[in-house]
């Protein structure tokens, strides 16, 4: 089941390794993405730490770790084709896979209905 954060990240997966990216709302707000700075595999992060940076033509925006864990894989395709974040935010444009310290942390995140309501409240 896919979960969401208030910072417009999606977290997908059921086991202890989950995939993280940014939502369609986020990519649309950022505009054309020209560079993504991803974390190093093996890096450990706590919820709220700056884990990646997305550079659009306009500006740089931080991406925060949605939960505590260790980075186990990053999306190398973004280096050559950062525009995947715009064209395919929830599939080809994923950022990294993180091994969660506590899978129960997922319960504290929003489901799709709650996220959609969150986004609807922003505009």
């Amino acid at each position: 089941m896919t979960k969401f954060t208030e910072d417009h990240e999606w977290i997908d997966g059921d086991g202890d390794v989950v995939t993280v990216g940014i939502t369609d709302y986020a990519q649309n707000a950022l505009g054309d993405v020209v560079f993504v700075e991803l974390p190093e595999v093996g890096g450990t992060f706590s919820k709220g730490d700056e884990v990646a940076v997305v550079e659009s033509v306009k500006a740089a925006s931080e991406v925060y770790a949605p939960l505590d864990g260790e980075i186990v894989e990053i999306n190398d395709a973004l280096e050559g084709e950062p525009g995947l974040v715009n064209s395919s935010p929830t599939e080809g444009g994923w950022f990294f896979k993180i091994k969660l310290n506590n899978t129960s942390d997922l319960d504290g995140l929003m489901d799709k209905a709650a996220y959609d309501a969150h986004v609807a409240g922003l505009d």
Binding site: G31, D32, F35, E37, E55, V57, K58, A60, P82
Partner: protein
């Protein structure tokens, strides 16, 4: 400043209707981008033509009180060859302070009035400052008449001439840095062949009441799109054009900012402008630091404020403008470095989020300028 206090241009309703994302800029609510997005707006301008609302900029007439040439008077604080400007000709110049620093850069055009009246356009963020510097320094000698009731549209790109020629075929005869009065759609406009994108194009000063209908008439052309401030910035950066208050400020001389071309040849010989001693000695010996073009080796853009380091990691300067160049196809930046690092090809480093990224000093513009100059 709260959003409520922001000024709007006469074209505000058109921007909102076109889906413009409005942001505060120089005290105005201005479109940073439209639904096309900055990248496509930028590329469209280079391939076809873009329409920019730049009505936030300061427009004025400057006249003399005693029949003397107002351009000659302004030359005290502007080192360009202004007095020699013939009617219908314009020039980019700089407004200097007592130290030879650049308070602003501005366009000065000679009108067709017998008194030699000047039509002047200054940067939006500087207009109050520029106008008061001129009014205070030349009180009793010059009269400055702000043209607050005029919109300013920039029409830029290789198809700009074709778009405007539909309304006024005579614009085909104009060349870069020429200005004239033309009746467009029944309203008298100042049309200048200049711009801030590196492309051929025009800036058109239109009475505010007629501006929306005029803009809509232009936009009927299939090749023309509204372009926002975001693409305006990436276009001017690629073209190697300075952003006032960022690529220079009152502490930077025209020589340091790479604007020595605005110093008239005879003006240099005469040395008859403010702080000429400092500026002329910099011209002769080279300034201690200069604004250079920088291309990062990797893909990470370096933004304004990023530190520039030498290969040993010593901080040697700061990026003043930087971002992604859509036409260039990668990140580009400009910043000040000491004399020893100004040569093309010099290897430096850019500090981005605490990490050093390799970069090289290069010549600007990053993308060639394509002005319509007079045929030799």
């Amino acid at each position: 400043m709260s959003v409520d206090e922001l000024l709007t241009t006469p074209l505000y309703d058109l921007h909102v209707a076109a889906g413009g994302k409005m942001v505060p800029f120089a005290g105005y609510s201005m479109p940073v981008q439209y639904p096309l997005g900055i990248m496509k707006e930028h590329l469209h301008t280079r391939e076809k033509a873009g329409l920019f609302d730049v009505s936030h900029m300061g427009q004025c007439y400057i006249r003399s009180t005693d029949g003397s040439d107002p351009a000659k008077t302004l030359e005290e604080i502007m080192p360009g060859a202004l007095a020699v400007l013939k009617p219908g000709k314009m020039r980019l110049t700089v407004l200097l302070n007592d130290d030879g620093g650049i308070e602003d850069d501005l366009m000065i055009a000679r009108t067709f009035e017998s008194e030699g009246t000047l039509f002047v356009v200054v940067n939006g963020a500087c207009k109050e400052k520029d106008f008061s510097i001129i009014e205070e320094r030349f009180a009793g000698r010059l009269v400055l008449e702000p043209l607050a009731d005029r919109a300013l549209l920039a029409l830029q790109g290789p198809r700009a001439e074709a778009v405007l020629a539909e309304l006024a075929p005579e614009v085909k005869d104009m060349v870069f840095m020429e200005t004239t009065m033309i009746t467009l759609e029944g309203t008298v406009c100042w049309v200048s062949r200049c711009g801030y994108t590196g492309e051929d194009g025009f800036e058109i000063s239109v009475p505010e009441a007629d501006a929306p209908a005029f803009a809509q008439r232009l936009l009927r052309h299939a090749d023309l799109e509204w372009i926002g401030l975001g693409a305006r910035d990436s276009l001017r950066l690629e073209a190697g054009l300075c952003l006032s208050g960022h690529d220079f400020d009152g502490s930077i001389t025209p020589v340091e900012a790479g604007l020595a071309f605005t110093l008239g040849k005879k003006r240099r010989e005469a040395g008859d402008f403010i702080a000429s001693e400092r500026i002329l000695s910099q011209l002769q010996d080279g300034p201690d630091k200069s604004l250079v073009g920088i291309v990062p080796v990797g893909r990470a853009p370096a933004r304004e404020g990023a530190e520039i380091a030498d290969l040993d990691g010593n901080i040697i300067g700061t990026v003043t403008s930087g971002g992604f160049g859509p036409t260039f196809g990668g990140p580009v930046a400009r910043g000040y470095v000491p004399k020893a690092f100004t040569e093309e090809g010099t290897e430096i480093q850019l500090m981005i989020r605490g990490k050093a990224h390799p970069a090289k000093v290069v010549a600007t513009p990053f993308v060639p300028q394509r002005y319509k100059r007079k045929q030799a």
